[in-house]
């Protein structure tokens, strides 16, 4: 409950006015900007006997950027995967742009992309083939594959199998997929990990642009000093609870 107070109690930062019922039309709705990008209402997640997330309450307005910090095993990845509909809450309800995580998963997935630690790439496909698959499965025409690859500096490796990529290149490919899909909500799990200095600067540019274009970003990161420069708020997960730790 303290997490709810700490996170959603401050009206001027990442919070947004809770939408009225009739406003739940998603981003296409004329009043969509009033719908929080993320709402968590008493969300808990248990794995076996271990309660990883406890009664999380959060309201994050659209167009805000927040950094999620916490020690290893605190539940950051679990929270991000839950918001991406890969994990079901054990208790409570969550909504993304007004769409329920459990009952309206397809609608949520139309508005969310997750950059995961593992990359999510197919090693035996080329970089371009990976992006082409992402475009096809997202119902997008796929005209922008080369532009996305060029944006992250992978244009020269577009037709190279991903299994030959370094960790940093795989991370860049995940970033290219995010730019290609460009959804309203970006979930990023340790986006700076494995990137070299150029890659980190590139990510800084991407995040700066994302802020300018009102994308909502929730990013789990141990590079707090760097990532916090773009953030409206820093949230901390500890002991399964969420609280605001600074801005």
């Amino acid at each position: 409950m303290a997490a709810f107070e700490a996170v959603s109690g401050a009206p001027s930062d990442i919070t947004a006015e809770r939408p009225a019922r009739q406003l739940r039309g998603g981003p296409g709705d004329a009043s969509a900007e009033r719908i929080p990008a993320i709402e968590l209402d008493g969300v808990s997640k248990r794995f076996g006997r271990e309660m990883v997330l406890r009664e999380l309450r959060l309201e994050m307005g659209a167009g805000r950027v927040a950094v999620l910090r916490g020690s290893n095993g605190a539940g950051k990845t679990t929270l991000l995967r839950m918001l991406a509909t890969r994990l079901r809450p054990t208790r409570g309800h969550g909504r993304v742009f007004g769409f329920d995580l459990q009952r309206q998963g397809d609608e949520v997935r139309r508005r969310v992309a997750l950059v995961s630690v593992l990359g999510g790439n197919y090693p035996v496909l080329t970089a371009r083939e990976n992006l082409k698959l992402a475009a096809t499965l997202s119902g997008l025409p796929g005209n922008d594959l080369d532009a996305a690859l060029a944006r992250v500096g992978l244009d020269a490796a577009a037709d190279t199998l991903v299994r030959t990529f370094s960790s940093g290149m795989k991370k860049r490919l995940g970033l290219a997929r995010l730019l290609l899909l460009d959804p309203p909500l970006w979930l990023m799990d340790e986006p700076y990990a494995a990137l070299d200095e150029d890659g980190k600067n590139l990510l800084d540019e991407v995040l700066t642009a994302a802020r300018g274009r009102a994308r909502t970003v929730l990013m789990a990161s141990h590079e707090l000093e760097r990532s916090a420069r773009f953030a409206d708020a820093v949230l901390e997960l500890a002991g399964g609870a969420l609280r605001r730790s600074g801005s």
């Binding site: 999510g120 197919y122 096809t136 944006r151």
Partner: protein, 247 residues
Amino acid sequence: MSAAPQGPRDRAGAAVIPEGSAAGDLAAVLAIARKDLLQEARSRAVTVATLFFSAVTLVMMAFAMGQDAELLRRSAPGVLWVALAFAGVITAAQSFQSDLEEGAFDQLLLYPVPRASVFLGKLLANWLYLAVLGLIMTPVTLVLYGARAGSDLWLLPVTLALGTFGFAVVATFYAALTANLQAREALLPVLMFPVVVPVLLGAVRSTEALVGLQNATLAGGWLQLLAGFDLVYFVTCTAIFHLVVEE
């Protein structure tokens, strides 16, 4: 940010993935199947394993039965389908295993396509692979075991298509169910073989009728049984696939 795609956008200009459509879902199914087949064409991991395993099975069983030509001839359909069944287990297990390596299966489930499309894509790839394997193994088995195709030879490919389809449905479903388990290699055959017995029985009996080991007129009945079980398994597994991939 020139990589951002054309198409529907929210008020902030972010891409909102278009609503799903039957054509979009079909495109997703074909894209997933193509991806799986392309991966296999490049890695050849399953091809090498299944061809070798099938050849060893055929030869070992032939040696085990000795020089009794009639026994060899009568056992040909059973040996063929046992070899195909074990090859099918390898095929289905590997189709998920290769996706799990770098979180690609997780990523696959984050796209806004129905879970059923993911299942159907994987099923299509596994079925095509098994059917082609069956087309290669059938003449080899008939020659090696001294069996001959009867007058209704055209029904043999139908038997192969229905038998491998039913087997692929069950194998793909259970491979998804066990993909994240530590003992998946042991659990997959243990769980799926009891379920797939009607399919194997129908396929073996129909093959027996078509190679002159039973009255050829019985083949039609066995094929109807096979088609019936295929339909039941197909509808059931497609409908409940989402339950096995959501955590």
